[in-house]
Amino acid sequence: MPYNIAMVSDFFFPQPGGVESHIYQLSSKLIDRGHKVVVITHAYKGRTGVRYLTNGLKVYHVPFLVIYRESTMPTVFSFFPIFRDIVIRERIEIVHGHASLSSFCHEAILHARTMGLRTVFTDHSLFGFADAGSILTNKLLKFSLSDVDHVICVSHTCKENTVLRASLDPLMVSVIPNAVVAENFQPESYVPKTQDMGYMRPKPMPRRLGPGDTIVIVVISRLFYNKGTDLLIAAIPRILAAHPNVRFIIAGSGPKAIDLEQMIERQMLQDKVELLGPVRHEEVRDVMVRGHIYLHPSLTEAFGTVIVEAASCGLYVVCTRVGGIPEVLPAHMTTFAKPEEDDLVLATGKAIAALRSGRVKTERFHDQVKMMYSWTDIAQRTERVYDGITGAISEQEFYGQHPSASWNAARSRSYALIDRLKRYYGCGIWAGKLFCLCVIIDYLIFLFLEVWAPRASIDIARDWPRKPFINDKNKPVENGMLRRRGTDLMDRRNGSLAMM
């Protein structure tokens, strides 16, 4: 059955970024599958109120105090009244929060559980356990995830991290990666498969590089410490010294940009390293297709969408073996390096040699990546999570067979306040009691709101015309037209960010 889903996050358009486009693409594909999706985020400058995006995606920009880097002020309860209004207006059944640094999302999960809704949380980032900031974030995450129905992580490393941080049952955590809109990241000479040509289309021509040809290495990243800009700064002169016919194109800005510029001026590499500054997301492809190798020296990365985008553009990827990156691309598309200067130089040298020898068939990358990652697939897998938590597919099928009978009761999370309190109480000696207090207050606020603003007095919003619901067998339920999922038609229609 189709669901009414609310995506809640602090991070959404007009701000560019990975989480933002993830929410947008996922929502768009879920709408294609016949669900109704609204996005709830805080008001951005120039964006308040309700907006409709392409495909009938409704966005609520809730006015809220923003404190730091577009994160809202973590007030535990103040979001509840307006959230309840939206949920009732839109007849929401599932609340799906995104990004662990978004306090909006955590609040929404808490209130949704109080209101008796199913909740899903998607974690996009990795956190350590050592420093004070991480400890605080982890405690808050534990608070909000104590009662969540399901968690989605973007990579297996991210799943391990989240399970540890929030003390979750691993079976309650699904791994659903990010995807790319392959049509937006096509190689320069790529001939898209059209309906007319079918299998007759010409095969992509391999780009052979002679020993004298220039190899362009592209780096697109924010120039921060944790993106490995120090490694990059140290490695560039050595790579350029070892390989004369190599050029760099570096796009992005950040606090390390000044170091990079200093290095370039000191080494007098202006003719070999081109700094583009910040580029918009839709220009990324145009930058990428100018190069042959994508270098990604990041120090931590949950998924690394950008390397998938680079591979989709037909670039050979050199990246550090950190976080979830080793899971993302097959070995023939990447060369891994340790996060060390020497190893990075070595790996880049290997990649250059591999390209020159023609061993790497970069012209095939695009089609391969297209098969690996598509938002349609992601939406389908997310839908299975929704099915699992709402009971549309049986618990046994969703969580697997359990050996002992007592085990079964634990999975589906009851809304009874006492059960919720039990879950929160286990969060820690002091934290558990504090969390219980918060939950009780939240429940009291809920009761108060039910009296003060009764459900009957809240208007129900009219839905955008729904698309036919596609169930798991890929057959439309309502009209008889058979549609295959993941066709190019669908991808092209919704793939581009028309609203940007």
């Binding site: 990795l126 956190f127 350590g128 356990f129 050592a130 104590s146 009662d147 297996h156 490393t157 991210c158 391990e160 991290n161 399970v163 540890l164 003390s167 049952d169 691993p170 079976l171 699904s174 791994v175 659903i176 990666p177 921060f224 410490y225 490995g228 490694l231 700064i233 140290a234 002169p237 390390k256 170091d259 931590t300 949950a302 950190v322 976080g323 899971e327 097959p330 996060p339 060390e340 200067e341 020497d342 690996m372 990652y373 897998r381 299975r384 999570v385 099928e397 969703f398 969580y399 697997g400 067979q401 359990h402 050996p403 002992s404 007592s406 085990w407 634990a410 039990k422 286990g426 558990g432």
Partner: protein
């Protein structure tokens, strides 16, 4: 569920502190064994379905209270032989977790399910892989692989268990500092109550300081000689290697070498002169510290005293953004801070650089002395309008700040940090002289780490405390004496202590004992209520002497026991707290970039 592994208590109980005692879900959760989703491994083991095998790993162990037995050996500290034996015993059990080579006959549970599993097995003989780009056919997204889940988790990887006596020995550094603060407070209280002559205090302090300086000077001379000897020897060896049997060239090389060596010695002496000044009573110490940043790991309030010394701050080598931009022709002098290089105008041939440095020290000492003398009347009336209570509170807080932010950890490194940041350059130069200095330089770089808090905060707090305290005193002499004494105690004495610890641990212990004795005795005296026998009033009568001996002995006995108790108790406590140490690291942690001693990254890896 895994049994409590019979390993050390460190691993056994460590996680109970930080992980919750129970999961948010109902308390007794059996391990989730994904039988249905796991056609290859879990399903066939019918006996497992009945009761979870305690030897087997469940994903839940990731956050449960035990260190999970891993397929790959987790680098844990197994303190005892018993623990390693237990780990060895565990290995077959762990091995049984691995995928069985073939699928044993399935004990029937549900016919429908078996059919489905069988069909899946036929269709997709895939195994689950920890990858995102493949379609994990037959495995749901929430499938948790028992073998690979959390297999890169490391617990307490760099745990170094403390031992009692080394810990106590290390705590002497803190005791020394606390005791010197206590001595200062006692001296102040004595002066304030009129029981102690300020001149006596400052005289004792100055005598001790000058004695310390002489000792320091002696050490410096020794170290220099050693260094020179090593240098000359290394040069000789390298020159022999280089030149083979050519005597003429070797002699010329030796001549050059001598020039170089003397140049190096000059530089070194200049550096020493910097050190000398530290031990004499002058405030230029701050500036010297600033100049040879990292020299003592402690830059004493460089900004506040910068103006006193005429040395330009540009000489600070750490300010140089790109060290190897320097012309390598002058590589011999490069390792030294440029300002230390003796300039031809000051280097008169008649005075050896050593004496020159001493002269400089003397000069700045006099400067400080007279400046302080001139400032004393102003200091005296500085806080006249403030009530004494505020002053006591302020001074207490400032001294607490001094104690808490004092740089206890930084290592001694008087000669090496002349150039802490230039190992690459040194390596680049092929000259034998610098090449010999290379290892020590590199070593120095690694041993000298930036303290988390600038110790200038500590020193400034102490000096401010002494200033506000001094402003309560009545006479100019007392103000002058107290301020001078505070400079000696807070500015110079720590430097001496650090060097002493480096030179001889025995002397360090003796000094600790002496400081404890003095401070506890002084506290005993100060805290005694008897005002009858202040100094000199009865002309050093027997009663006075008896009073002093009695009170200080009582203070020493009580204070000494307290100190020993605290040192031992805190050490035990810290060792006990080690059990709760639970550092979890894994692939999600941001990697530490390793730069190959590069010229670009090295100086700014820690800047972010």
């Amino acid at each position: 569920m895994a049994p409590p592994p019979p390993s050390t208590p460190t691993t056994g109980t460590s996680s109970t502190a930080s992980t919750p005692t129970q999961t948010p879900a109902p308390s007794a959760i059996p391990p989730p064994i994904p039988v249905e989703t796991h056609p290859n491994r879990a399903k066939p083991q019918g006996n497992r379905a009945a009761a979870p095998d305690p030897n087997h790993l469940a994903p839940e162990d990731a956050y449960r209270s035990f260190s999970p037995p891993r397929l790959r050996p987790v680098p844990e500290i197994h303190g005892s032989a018993a623990a390693s034996a237990a780990a060895a015993a565990l290995r077959p059990a762990v091995a049984s977790l691995r995928a069985p080579p073939a699928i044993p006959p399935v004990a029937a549970r549900l016919a429908e399910e078996r059919r489905r599993a069988a069909s899946r097995r036929r269709k997709q003989p895939h195994v689950w892989k920890k990858l995102l780009w493949i379609k994990q056919h037959g495995f749901p997204d929430n499938y948790t692989d028992t073998e690979t889940f959390l297999d890169h988790l490391q617990r307490n990887p760099r745990l170094r268990p403390y031992e009692f006596w080394p810990l106590v020995a290390d705590s002497t550094v803190i005791v020394q500092h606390v005791c010197s603060v206590a001595i200062f407070v006692c001296a102040y209280a004595g002066i304030y109550q009129g029981r102690l002559s300020p001149v006596a205090v400052v005289t004792c302090g100055s005598i001790a300081t000058i004695a310390g300086w002489i000792v320091w000077d002696h050490w410096m001379g020794q170290e220099e000689a050693e260094e020179m000897a090593a240098l000359v020897k290394a040069n000789r060896v390298s020159i022999d290697v280089d030149d083979g049997s050519s005597t003429s060239s070797s002699t010329s090389a030796k001549a050059v070498l001598n020039g170089h060596a003397s140049g190096h010695a000059n530089g070194g002496l200049g550096g020493r002169g910097v050190g000398l000044k530290l031990s004499t009573t002058n405030l230029a110490v701050k500036d010297n510290e600033a100049r040879s940043a990292g020299k003592h790991g402690q830059s004493l309030s460089k900004s506040s005293f910068q103006s006193i010394s005429p040395i330009d701050p540009l000489g600070d080598p750490t300010l140089e953004p790109f060290p190897d931009l320097r012309p390598t022709a002058s590589h011999l002098q490069v390792p030294q801070s440029p300002s230390i290089i003796p300039s031809p105008t000051t280097l008169t041939p008649s005075i050896s650089p050593r004496n020159q440095a001493r002269l400089k020290t003397l000069k700045s000492a006099c400067l400080i002395y007279f400046a302080l003398l001139g400032l004393s009347p102003i200091l005296k009336s500085l806080t006249k309008s403030t009530s004494s209570d505020s002053i006591w509170a302020l001074a207490t807080w400032l001294l607490i700040i001094n104690i808490f932010f004092f740089d206890y950890g930084s290592l001694y490194g008087p000669t090496k940090p002349l150039n802490p940041i230039r190992p690459l350059e040194v390596a680049n130069t092929t000259a034998a002289t610098t090449a010999t200095a290379d290892p020590s330089l590199v070593h120095a770089h690694h041993s000298v780490r930036a303290p988390p808090f600038p110790s200038s905060l500590s020193t400034n707090a102490a000096l401010m405390a002494s200033t506000v305290l001094a402003s309560r005193l009545l006479t100019t002499t007392a103000v002058f004496s107290l301020t001078l004494f505070s400079i000696q105690v807070f500015g110079l004495f720590p430097v001496f202590r650090r060097h002493l610890r480096h030179r001889s641990f025995k002397l360090h212990l003796v000094l600790t004992f002496a400081l404890v004795t003095m401070s506890t005795g002084g506290l005993g005296l100060i805290l005694s209520k008897s005002y009858t026998h202040t100094y000199g009033n009865c002309g050093f009568c027997l009663g006075w002497i008896w009073h002093v001996i009695l009170r200080s002995t009582v203070g020493f006995v009580v204070g000494g026991f307290c100190t020993a108790f605290v040192m031992g108790g805190c050490s035990w406590w810290l060792i006990g707290l080690q059990r709760y140490k639970n550092v979890v690291i894994g692939p999600w942690d941001p990697a530490k970039p390793v730069l190959a001693g590069g010229s670009y990254g090295r100086s700014r890896t820690g800047t972010d």
